[in-house]
Amino acid sequence: MRTGDELPPVEIPITRTLIVAGAIASRDYQDVHHDPESARHKGSPDIFMNILTTNGLVGRYITDHFGPRTVLKKVAIRLGAPNYPGDTMVLNGRVETVEGATATVRIVGTNRIGNHVTGTVTFSLRDAEGTPSEHTRA
C-alpha cells in the first residue's frame, strides 16, 4: 500500500430496501428514511439514506478491500447530495497517508446528483497474530 494508490470503485445500488433496512438497523426511525409521504411533506422528493448507513457503507468499503485484518480507527464523513431510491452510489478511494501500520484513505461516494459523501477513513492492518503489522508499506 502506497500513498496515491487508488482503490477499485464499488457500485452500491440505492434501493428502497437498503435505505429502510439501514435506517432500522441503526435504530433511526426518522420518518424521512422510511415514509415517502412524510418525506414529501418535508420538502424532499422521496425517502433518503440516513448518515449512519452511509457511515457503515464507507467502513465496509475499506474493510472489504483490505480484508478482515483491517482495524478501523477513525471514520470522518460529510454528506452532500442525498441518496434517493433508484440511484447508484459509486465509492472511490485513494490512499492519502501511510505511517507504519496505519493508513488514511480519502473516500468519495458519488450519485447522479453529485457527491453524496466525502471523507477519510483511518485504519491499521493486524498481522496474523492480531498485533498491528509493521509490513504494510510493501
Partner: protein, 341 residues
C-alpha cells in the same frame, strides 16, 4: 401538513407566545450560550452490544466481514452511534442526544439540548438534517458490553444560508464508555433549518357565488345557515334554487336552521386525493332538523367512526384564514366542548 381544521398550522412565531423574540443577532448570541453545556450525562445504551443487532446491521449493509460473526465477534466499529440511539421507544430518531431527531424522554438527557432545539424550532428552524459524522474507535465493542455515553454541545453556528434553507449548525461530541474505559468518540453535526420551499397546503376550493345562492353565502358569513322557504306553498328547499320544486313559485324567504341534524348518509373519500384535502375523510349528507339535507364534512370524528343516524351539530369553520364553511361535529363531542368552555 394536513388539512386539519382542529389544528390549523400556526406560524412559528405563534407557537410559543412566551418565547422571547430575538432579532437574528441576539438569537445567535443566545444560541451560542449553549456551547459547552451537556446534552446527555451518563446516559445508558438501551441494549447491551449484542449479536442480533450486529447481524441485522450486517445484513442491511451487505457486510460479510467475518470479524463480525462467530465466538470472537466484535461489533462493526461504524455501528458506534447505533448503540446510543433511543429508537421508537425513547428519544426517537437520529443520533442519540446528539442527533436531530432527539425529542426528550431519554435517560441521562440534559435539559440544555432540549432548550436549544426548542429555541431553534421557535426561530423557524423546524427541519433537521445530519451533515457530518466523525468517529474514533479506541476499543472494539463486543457482545455483552454495556455502553454509557456523555454528550456535550460543542458549537452552535451563526445563521447560515444553505441550499436547503437558512439555519444553524449544531455540533455535539459524544464519549462512549464501557465501564470506565473510553471506547469511542463521536462528533456529530446537524443543520437545523427553515426549509427554503416549505410545502404549503393548497387552499380549499372556493364556492361559486351567484345571484341564486348569494343569500346563502351571506348567511354563512354571519354564521347563520339559511334555508329557503317558498312563500306560496311554505315548502323548504335546500340547496338554494331560483324556484320552488313543489309549486313552481318564484318567491321565497328564509328560515334559519337550528343546527341540529343527523347523518343521513356518507361516503369516505380515499381517491383521488384533491390537493386541499387529506384523505381518507368522510363526506356526509346531514338531514337537518327542519327536514332538508346538506352535504358537508364531519369534523373531529375519524372517518371510520362516522355512522348513519349519528346526531350532529352545525359549526362554522374558517379555512385558509378567510373562508367560512358550515360543517358538522358529532353532537356529543360538540356538547362536551361547550361544557368545557
Amino acid at each position: 401538513m394536513v388539512d386539519d381544521p382542529e389544528a390549523p398550522p400556526a406560524p412559528p412565531e405563534a407557537r410559543d407566545p412566551d418565547a422571547p423574540t430575538h432579532p437574528a443577532h441576539d438569537l445567535s448570541t443566545h444560541l451560542k450560550s449553549y456551547e459547552g453545556h451537556p446534552a446527555a450525562v451518563s446516559a445508558t445504551g438501551k441494549d447491551p452490544v449484542n449479536l442480533p443487532m450486529i447481524r441485522h446491521w450486517c445484513e442491511a449493509l451487505g457486510d460479510t466481514n467475518p470479524a463480525y460473526t462467530g465466538p470472537e465477534a466484535i461489533a462493526p466499529p461504524t455501528m458506534l452511534q447505533a448503540w446510543t440511539m433511543g429508537g421508537l421507544g425513547g428519544l426517537g430518531g437520529l443520533g442519540g442526544p446528539g442527533g436531530p431527531g432527539a425529542r426528550g424522554g431519554h435517560t441521562g438527557r440534559a435539559q440544555a439540548y432540549d432548550e436549544l432545539l426548542a429555541l431553534l424550532d421557535a426561530s423557524g428552524c423546524t427541519s433537521v438534517v445530519a451533515t457530518d459524522c466523525e468517529q474514533e474507535y479506541l476499543q472494539p465493542l463486543r457482545p455483552g458490553d454495556e455502553i454509557t455515553f456523555d454528550t456535550v454541545i460543542e458549537s452552535v453556528s451563526d445563521r447560515k444560508t444553505t441550499k436547503l434553507g437558512t439555519g444553524h449548525f449544531v455540533t455535539t461530541r459524544t464519549d462512549v464508555r464501557v465501564g470506565e474505559t473510553l471506547v469511542g468518540t463521536h462528533r456529530f453535526r446537524i443543520l437545523k433549518y427553515a426549509p427554503a420551499q416549505a410545502k404549503k397546503t393548497p387552499p380549499r376550493p372556493r364556492p361559486v357565488v351567484n345571484r341564486d345562492n348569494a343569500g346563502f353565502w351571506e348567511g354563512v358569513e354571519r354564521h347563520r345557515l339559511l334555508i329557503q322557504r317558498c312563500t306560496a306553498c311554505a315548502a323548504l328547499r335546500f340547496p338554494w334554487l331560483p324556484g320552488c320544486a313543489h309549486c313552481g313559485g318564484p318567491d321565497w324567504d328564509t328560515v334559519e336552521a337550528s343546527g341540529e341534524g343527523t347523518v343521513y348518509s356518507y361516503v369516505v373519500m380515499h381517491h383521488p386525493p384533491f390537493p386541499a384535502f387529506d384523505p381518507p375523510y368522510a363526506v356526509v349528507l346531514v338531514e337537518l332538523a327542519e327536514g332538508v339535507r346538506i352535504i358537508s364534512n364531519l369534523v373531529g370524528t375519524p372517518y371510520d367512526k362516522v355512522r348513519i343516524g349519528m346526531p350532529v351539530r352545525l359549526v362554522f369553520q374558517v379555512y385558509d384564514g378567510e373562508l367560512t364553511l358550515p360543517v358538522f361535529r358529532a353532537a356529543e363531542e360538540a356538547a362536551a366542548e361547550e361544557a368545557a368552555v
